[in-house]
Symmetry: C2
Amino acid sequence: MRATVMHGAGDVRVEDVPDATLRDATDVTVRIVLACICGSDLWPYRDLAPSEDGRRMGHEFVGVVEDVGAEVTTLRRGDLVVAPFLFADGSCDFCHEGEHAQCRNGGFWGGVPGSDGGQGEAVRVPFADATLVRLPVAPDDALLPALLTLSDVFSTGHYAALCARVRPGVTAAVVGDGAVGLCGVIAARRLGAERVIVLGHHADRLELARELGATDVVTARGPEAVEQVHELTGGDGAHAVLECAGQLEAFETALAITRGGGALGRVGAPQYASAPHVRGQFGRNITIGGGPAPTRAFIEELLPDVLEGRVQPGRVFDATVALDGVPEGYQAMDERRSLKVLVRP
Amino acid sequence: MRATVMHGAGDVRVEDVPDATLRDATDVTVRIVLACICGSDLWPYRDLAPSEDGRRMGHEFVGVVEDVGAEVTTLRRGDLVVAPFLFADGSCDFCHEGEHAQCRNGGFWGGVPGSDGGQGEAVRVPFADATLVRLPVAPDDALLPALLTLSDVFSTGHYAALCARVRPGVTAAVVGDGAVGLCGVIAARRLGAERVIVLGHHADRLELARELGATDVVTARGPEAVEQVHELTGGDGAHAVLECAGQLEAFETALAITRGGGALGRVGAPQYASAPHVRGQFGRNITIGGGPAPTRAFIEELLPDVLEGRVQPGRVFDATVALDGVPEGYQAMDERRSLKVLVRP
């Protein structure tokens, strides 16, 4: 079969790889219908060391179940399914607590040699009963891009909003106008935030943020951005701040605009090792949470709102490529020509 | 009247100061019955710059209401009251949210020139109706030391446990065997922790920790302490970690022993500016909260358990001085000869 392999920074190839096949009795194989490229795929795209073997890419996909392992009980050949960006056994103590990202037997798609990634023709899915969620639509449904966002980007925005303790009536702020930030806007509104201030630098994305529910937009950077958010919030900052970027500057801004007693939900993978301003966090009773989102824990809850069109996270996609177009998709996202690229193998 | 004034590191004096008097119509004055010295008083005791005026000390006290301002409605002369370590107006949005440490009009006892501290004969109490809580016992009640811990040390341990998300059945760990750490042990057990591991270095305090409910004791430091906690918890660490010390090493240990998906409640005033190991926190979905505890929010909830003897936070006191003995009390705590010193003016 064909799949995407990254051999080093800027070196994304679509090549022949071994077919996805069952390995364990709890596996299924899934033929990919729709996948996409993640903002986090751009980190290795910028700095991955060159290698012959390379790394299989893609961790967001919707597809159709093909082969079914002997111990799989809830899935059948032909089921349309969505996968969270981490597979998980669904049975360990962490999974029972909703902490699927800490699963004792889970892992990232393509994360270990020999495992499949989503940007390809097919994937072997471990712990299939627990990992996958069946979708009650046809594979050609117009909602498929929106449903695909349950894999990662919308569910991750939702996790950021939960970690930021968004609740009805609060003012939320979202740092970052990438796809996760935009989904954070949707999630914050969905959880009842009265105001959602989004901080970003791209006019088109900020326009989309407004359409998705942002009430205020701040385009300044650093201390000026902090000042503007304080002006918008009577000097207090936002109760709930979603940090959806990952750079140190984004974290510093996020902390500085969090209201005393408020919470900062961090889902942008931190590109820094030490967090400054501890005394500011402490003195202002601010809580910081987040991490790789346990998206599997949220899919059932978010699904009805996507199916019934109450939220439209599919709008974060602004381009589509076939499998052979994946390298161009990376380039387009890296150069900020595209916000988020769909892959139709 | 007489009160404690710190004029610089190691320079604590009991001297004549202006009498505590009503200033605002919402004030009362309180004649101090019992006060104490806080571990946090030792920070300035070690590094306060010398000054002529000095700083009024003491933020924990129980006393009897004396003069009552014209707008005070719930307190009368003769009432026995306990004060939280921060006064707060009780009416702003922060106070309504239980974030009294962020009160728009609140402050620390002795925190501004002209305000009174608890280590003295009397105190002017701002926002008296909101700040003080009446105690249904006589001023000579044997429970008075235990009731005094509601001011700060027990309520702060409770806040650490809340921030660490202690809930029934979890394993908690308490970093620090000072008075707050010991109260953290009590609080963690009270909230249902099945195991409470306490980390410290003082045999007598750790013995007391066991009597107060700790199930395990770790006396090692640094990586060795982390290893021992992991051994005690099947390699996972503790769900709920209470950081009750404030040094960088304590924070690093606390983070390293927090289970994936767990929470770290920090109440030791951080003696460091930057928190390392952000990626470890992020990758393990750990939440960090804490700060100066809004103890006023907890007093009514904790009071019955103290009154009925179900918890015994008063055991953290191991010495008593009269007002003139306060300088000796500081010295005893600084030299670790005393755990926590009561002051009976």
